[in-house]
């Protein structure tokens, strides 16, 4: 069966043996040593957010787990995560999986990810195992997150994924383009796109909208069956269930989503009886807590390869259900990791597995020449604009975490200054790369935080009660006791507003003590000028967020965070998902 936690820790720690030395080829072989096991190798990337080049990405120091999820992966940060998975402080893995000593470690170990480096790693893993017995899956959020992906409407990433050799994918941010654009990209994509939980609405079917299956209403093929090494592996797709709620429904009016766990069970049963597969796999964009609950209520799935919540979890979570055990993984974000699971199969099904979540340290992997060329070609027409240096960072600028990151604060400050608002709101996205102090903040970096198809800003009066309602609503999406009611983003970011949050309270009473930066109390009936962006209902009238932030940065020259509007957290006590918190 799988590596024990101790063995896992030992193998990973080998690379840290010469920890005072720069990374060497010895470290390389230790880091990526994946002795083949079993008969089929499944590889998994997810949530790369269109990061073609290597980047820095700081993992969170706040990723609260409440109720059953308290202290359970993925809700472990920093030293708690190291202890749980037997990782050594100061090692490359500690840097990959945690925020600890981020700035110093980032300088030492260098950037992570990048499709040219990832391509080299994927090829190595395919060659050593036997190419025809491997499968590369992509959990989605691939066509969005960079300037070039936005400007090519995701097409650059389709080309990069074709060259990388992605076999099967599902999606989320892919659905923030228009249906025609999505279909054109899927036409260009050489792998298969699967989703059991995206349906064409009855109204749209009636009006003649295109469907994969008019009878079932599936907009896309729900699953695919692959034969490898004489074994049949079924791969079912599960797209992000709340796309038309968390993102604009107006871009994809014909489609309706949802978790559809009941239909997932029916499909698993149908696939098992029709094809007798040796393994049933789900490539999911549910988010890890939703995947864990789905694994509890649906039986017959061997492994759920998960994404959406951007959790870098070194070891799969084994979930018991009425049919046995389902493994649930989550493979981080921004191209930082490659999940590798080798399965031992027999006529009776899955007999054993080995799993590694490999950090893609760019300094340890040569860039694949063909992929490097493609990336260069994609970026060439836009290069002058992308490389404009807007300001110099004087702090680590990052986003990820349940509450305001420092780059969010820059965005919120920019909104307030440029649009003349008292309070600003910015969505709790989990994508967005990290900038180190002393480095220039380029337009590329700004787009890494803001490149979406609904970038328009607004500024309008809201009452204190309206603002509280918004905070309460988003907070419930994050901290609802039932994972099926969580949408998987982080808390809405705020500028010019401090508050107290009690995540364990009921909806409507989690937020209190709202104050402006000058300390004055936000009154329920009083009106405030509020600026924001990324409205999902109708299109906002204001300038694009990236232009607002760029203009602000050009005026700033250097960026130091004067005040981080992160809330005071109450009521959670000591929690392994919370460390080094300044709020």
């Amino acid at each position: 069966m799988s590596l024990s936690r101790r063995e896992f820790g030992q193998i990973l720690s080998l690379a840290a043996a010469g920890s005072m030395l720069p990374l060497t080829s010895r470290a390389e072989s230790a880091m990526f040593d994946t002795a083949p096991y079993g008969q089929v190798r499944l590889m998994h990337i997810t949530d790369c957010h269109a990061q073609l080049n290597p980047i820095y990405f700081r993992e969170p120091n706040v990723n609260l787990g409440l109720y059953d999820a308290k202290g359970r992966a993925p809700h472990l940060v920093g030293a708690s995560l190291l202890a749980e998975f037997g990782l050594k402080a100061g090692s490359p893995e500690a840097h990959a999986f945690t925020y600890l000593g981020f700035e110093e470690a980032a300088r030492r170990f260098g950037k992570v990810g990048g499709f040219a480096h990832l391509k080299t790693l994927v090829e190595r893993l395919r060659t050593e195992y036997g190419r025809e017995n491997t499968l590369l899956m992509d959990g989605g959020d691939t066509w969005q997150g960079s300037a070039t992906s936005l400007w090519t409407r995701g097409q650059d990433m389709v080309d990069a994924c074709n060259l990388l050799g992605v076999d099967v994918m599902t999606g989320h941010w892919e659905f923030t383009y228009l249906e025609d654009e999505i279909r054109a990209n899927l036409e260009r994509f050489q792998g298969e796109f699967v989703a059991q939980n995206v349906k064409v609405s009855d109204d749209a079917l009636f009006d003649g909208a295109e469907a994969f299956d008019e009878d079932s209403g599936h907009a896309f093929k729900p699953y695919t069956l692959r034969e490898m090494n004489g074994f049949r592996v079924a791969v079912i797709g599960q797209s992000f269930p709340y796309t038309p709620i968390a993102n604009p429904a107006r871009f994809i009016p014909n489609w309706t989503f949802g978790i559809r766990d009941g239909e997932m069970q029916e499909l698993v049963d149908q696939v098992r009886s029709e094809h007798q597969p040796h393994a049933v796999i789900v490539i999911s964009h549910n988010g890890m807590d939703v995947d864990i609950k789905m694994a509890e209520v649906v039986s017959g799935i061997d492994v759920i390869f998960g994404g959406h919540t951007h959790d870098a979890v070194p070891v799969p979570v084994a979930v018991k259900n009425s049919g046995g055990t389902t493994l649930v993984t989550n493979a981080g974000s921004n191209g930082k990791f490659l999940g590798v699971m080798d399965l031992e199969l027999s006529e009776q099904g899955v007999k054993g597995y080995r799993y590694r979540l490999l950090p893609v340290f760019a300094n340890l992997l040569d860039a694949d020449p063909a992929m490097s060329q493609l990336i260069q070609d994609i970026r060439a027409p836009y290069l002058p604009q992308l490389t404009e240096q807007l300001a110099i960072a004087d702090d680590v600028l990052y986003r990820r975490g349940n509450f305001n990151g420092t780059f969010d604060q820059v965005i919120c400050d920019a909104l307030r200054v440029q649009l003349n608002a008292q309070i600003s709101l910015s969505p709790g996205f989990r994508w967005g790369t990290t900038v180190l102090p002393g480095d220039a903040i380029t337009f590329d970096n700004v787009m890494d935080q803001t490149a979406i198809t609904y970038p328009e800003t607004y500024v309008r009066p809201m009452t204190g009660a309206d603002i509280k309602l918004i905070l309460e609503d988003v907070c419930d999406n994050l901290f609802n006791e039932d994972p099926f009611y969580q949408q998987g983003g982080d808390m809405v970011r705020v500028g010019g507003l401090d508050y107290v949050v009690n995540p364990m309270a009921q909806m409507g009473s989690r937020i209190s003590e709202m104050r402006l930066d000058d300390g004055s109390v936000v009154e329920a009936t009083k009106s405030y000028q509020v600026a924001g962006w990324a409205t999902v209902g109708s299109q906002s009238p204001g300038p694009h967020i990236y232009d607002v932030v760029a203009a602000y940065l050009r005026d700033q020259k250097t960026v130091r965070i004067q005040k981080l509007n992160s809330p005071v957290i109450r009521g959670v006590g000591s929690n392994p998902g919370l460390a080094d918190y300044l709020g």
Partner: protein
């Protein structure tokens, strides 16, 4: 005939049927009106069925989204293998909770699909009347302002 053409034909037929069945409604208006205007689910059931004692039952299958994509048109499906005389749908927090009631002639399969409106997060209860008793399944449907997903 493909599904789309079939749907269109059915759609036309459907409106004809609706016109026919709505005729007797005039006669029923006096009691149905009270049920549909009732301010609580219990009152609605009392008015509709002459009693409001209910029993939760797994035999009542309720399909509703966990989070509504659009609170104005939330798809609801109720299905049962029981011999059902009537199926009703209650939206607890709506000002008038009774969203619909469907009388099923003997021998009709117990399956109803409709769309309902809800202004806020609320429990949805499917009620099946079978053998003079009321069986229910309840599910919470969340209505959110949306946005901010990662």
């Amino acid at each position: 005939m493909d599904r789309r053409s079939a749907l269109k034909v059915l759609g036309l037929a459907g409106s004809a049927v609706t016109a026919l069945v709505s005729l007797p409604k005039l006669a029923m208006a006096s009691w149905a009106k009270t049920a549909f205007e009732a301010r609580s689910g219990a009152d609605a059931l009392q008015n509709l069925y002459g009693g409001n004692a209910t029993t939760p039952s797994d035999a009542v299958k309720l399909k509703a989204p966990d989070i509504a994509e659009n609170g104005a048109v939330v798809p609801i499906e109720v299905e049962t293998d029981m011999e059902a005389d009537s199926i009703a749908i209650l939206i607890e927090k709506n000002p008038s909770p009774l969203a619909g009631s469907f009388n099923l002639p003997a021998g009709t399969k117990g399956l109803v699909k409709t769309r309902v409106r809800m202004g806020e997060t609320t429990n949805v209860t499917a009620v099946v009347k079978s053998g003079g008793k009321l069986y229910t399944t309840t599910k919470e449907v969340k209505v959110t302002i949306g946005g901010c997903g990662g």
